[in-house]
């Protein structure tokens, strides 16, 4: 009986806590809204003028604490970027998965007092701003960013 009760509880909680994981598959939360995005890439010199159409899908959900989570998903079902916006910072271990340590080490890269975090490298980049009551941030994998998508497009 108690096993059954636990199963029901877990089923209730899961959609709320199952974020996407950066670098992995997006969340399957029923509350997600999906909207395909098409971007016309800017033809780079190496692309020899052949403009490719890069596309991604945007999944949006709101977690149990009222934080809006947006997952940017490649056609291959891999999350290449996430953003958050809400009264607290979301559970970053769930959101960033194996990239959580990258976020922590970015935070320690220099002493920055109470100011925002803007840091990273070619593998992982993070921006985190806010104060108690209102937090925003984004994390993305530059190597997986579709051509023509800029950090400023992630909101």
């Amino acid at each position: 009986m108690s096993v059954l009760k636990f199963a029901i509880l877990a089923a209730t909680l899961l959609p709320l806590s199952s974020y996407a994981t950066l670098g992995g598959a997006p969340s399957a939360g029923a509350s997600s809204q999906s909207a395909p995005r098409a971007m016309q890439s800017v033809a780079g010199a190496s692309a020899a003028g052949a403009a490719r159409a890069a596309s991604y899908t945007l999944h949006q959900s709101i977690d149990a604490n009222g934080v809006t989570i947006r997952e940017y998903v490649l056609p291959g079902n891999v999350v290449f970027a996430v953003t958050w916006d809400g009264p607290i910072r979301p559970d970053m271990t769930a959101l960033l998965g194996s990239y959580f340590p990258n976020y922590v080490s970015a935070g320690h890269s220099r002493a920055r007092g109470t100011g925002p975090l803007i840091d990273g490298n070619d593998d992982f980049r993070v921006e985190s701003a806010g104060r108690l009551g209102r937090f925003f941030g984004m994390a993305y994998l530059p190597r997986l960013m579709p051509a023509g998508v800029r950090p400023g497009d992630l909101q």
Partner: protein, 435 residues
């Protein structure tokens, strides 16, 4: 190859920036590293502060006022990074006036972007165990367990016990107020704190300061914790290894020390001299207590006044975008905003030559007149090469279309007024920021 060389050179300079930034460390245990403050810097001109009387001439705030309402504040290379504004405080055991149970803590980061006093346990030395333990969390049915806090900041968190202490700043004392003792090791950091917080800034070295002097618009530090046990904020701790997320009443939350003063408690002014475009090695200014209570803290008739929202935000318009999460924040050491047209190096703006920019500030509710504010962005690599600590033209590149932070560069050459809560000054009601 040419590009590679350039990249390498840039990388070398960037590494130098970081080394310089880390060089001085946090100054753990150096509480007696006294700086000879210039109590009356010459740039203040003929503003004597007060004439020693307390009959409240020009007091438009209608609150008690006392003489001696200024303390020196400073920017120099002793902090962990550039543009970090610091003050010295004295922390004492409550209830024992004159008994010498005090420690002076310098290199406290002066932060109008947060509320509350947070001190690294290392800087308190042997005083820490003598401070009073804060108990009585709202969700603690015993009412007896110690309260600890995980304070989330923009980029990381601080974790440690909430204790009560007397906090002296200059001649003023905030008596018996809850403060956070960061990194005291009393309780294991809860997993929620780390998961929502990220990097742990509880030590002087990781924070770049011996603590935070949070003198923002709030009286208490967590409006949301009054009603909700937020993950990664307040906890009560039945044992060293188990802390439970909880709501905490206002009077038991870590608080703004200025709001606890017996006089001039309605706000502060940060008054810093102007600095040249190449920066300055050090800057000494004044932190003034009270707004509109006496001659040296009166709001000028031509002051620009902007109401802020519950969280201290106003709106800034820049190049066609309205950034509604915008703040004038002494705890942010750069102008942080999005402009993809400006080149960057390691996330700092590094334009080929100095840029004259302008953004327009307006109140959070859009009420009142907007004001165009000019500012400059210089190449951060050139600035770092000077070895100076105080710059009015350093910027960092944020991608968000909603955040625009007027950090410490904005404060040089200005008096910036931060009014606490719903204080009334003449016909004005807080919270607002003015300059």
């Amino acid at each position: 190859m040419n590009t590679l060389n350039k990249t390498l050179r840039v990388a070398t300079v960037a590494a130098t920036v970081i080394l310089t930034a880390c060089g001085a460390g946090g100054g753990d245990g150096q509480g007696n590293n006294s700086v000879s403050w210039n109590a009356t810097p010459d740039w203040v001109g003929n503003s004597p502060g007060n004439s020693g009387n307390s009959n409240n001439d020009g007091n438009s705030a209608g609150i008690k006022t006392e003489s001696d309402n200024t303390v020196p504040i400073r920017v120099d290379n002793s902090m962990g990074n550039l543009n970090m504004l610091s003050a010295s405080i004295t922390v004492c055991v409550p209830g024992q006036p004159g008994r010498g149970q005090c420690v002076t803590v310098d290199n406290m980061l002066v932060d109008t972007g947060s509320t509350g006093v947070r001190i690294a346990a290392s800087a308190l030395q042997s005083l820490n165990p003598k401070l009073l333990t804060q108990i009585g969390a709202l969700d603690d049915t015993t009412g007896a367990f110690p309260i600890a806090e995980c304070m989330p900041f923009a980029s990381g968190f601080t974790w440690g016990s909430v204790k009560r202490a007397d906090v002296k700043i200059g001649s003023r004392t905030a008596s018996n107020i809850p403060v956070q003792v960061m990194g005291d090791g009393a309780f294991t950091t809860p997993s929620d704190c780390t998961a929502h917080g990220g990097a742990d800034y509880s030590t002087a070295r990781s924070l770049g300061a011996n603590g935070i002097l949070g003198i923002g618009h709030g009286v208490h530090d967590s409006k949301d914790a009054l009603t909700t046990a937020i993950p990664g904020n307040y906890y009560y701790c039945p044992s060293a290894n188990s802390c439970v997320s909880t709501r905490v009443k206002a009077e038991k939350q870590v608080m703004n020390p200025v709001a606890a003063f017996s006089a001039d408690y309605n706000g502060t002014i940060i008054r810093l001299p102007a600095v040249p475009a190449s920066g300055q090695a050090s800057v000494t200014g004044e932190l003034i207590f009270g707004v509109g209570t006496q001659a040296n803290n009166a709001l000028p008739a031509d002051a620009n006044i902007f109401t802020v929202d519950t969280y201290g935000f106003l709106t800034t318009h820049y190049q066609g975008t309205a950034f509604n999460y915008s703040a004038i924040d002494s705890g942010t050491n750069v102008y942080a905003f999005a402009d993809s047209a400006i080149p960057t190096t390691s996330d700092f703006y590094t334009p080929a030559s100095a840029l004259d920019l302008s953004a327009t500030i307006e109140a959070s509710a859009g009420s009142g007149a907007p004001l165009a504010v000019p500012f400059q962005i210089e190449n951060a690599l050139n600035l770092a090469a000077t070895g100076n600590a105080a710059f009015n033209n350093v910027g960092a590149s944020m991608s968000s279309g909603r955040w625009f932070l007027w950090g410490l560069p904005f404060f040089y050459g200005r008096s910036v007024y931060t009014v606490i809560g719903d204080s009334k000054i003449g016909t004005l009601t807080g919270p607002f920021v003015a300059f």
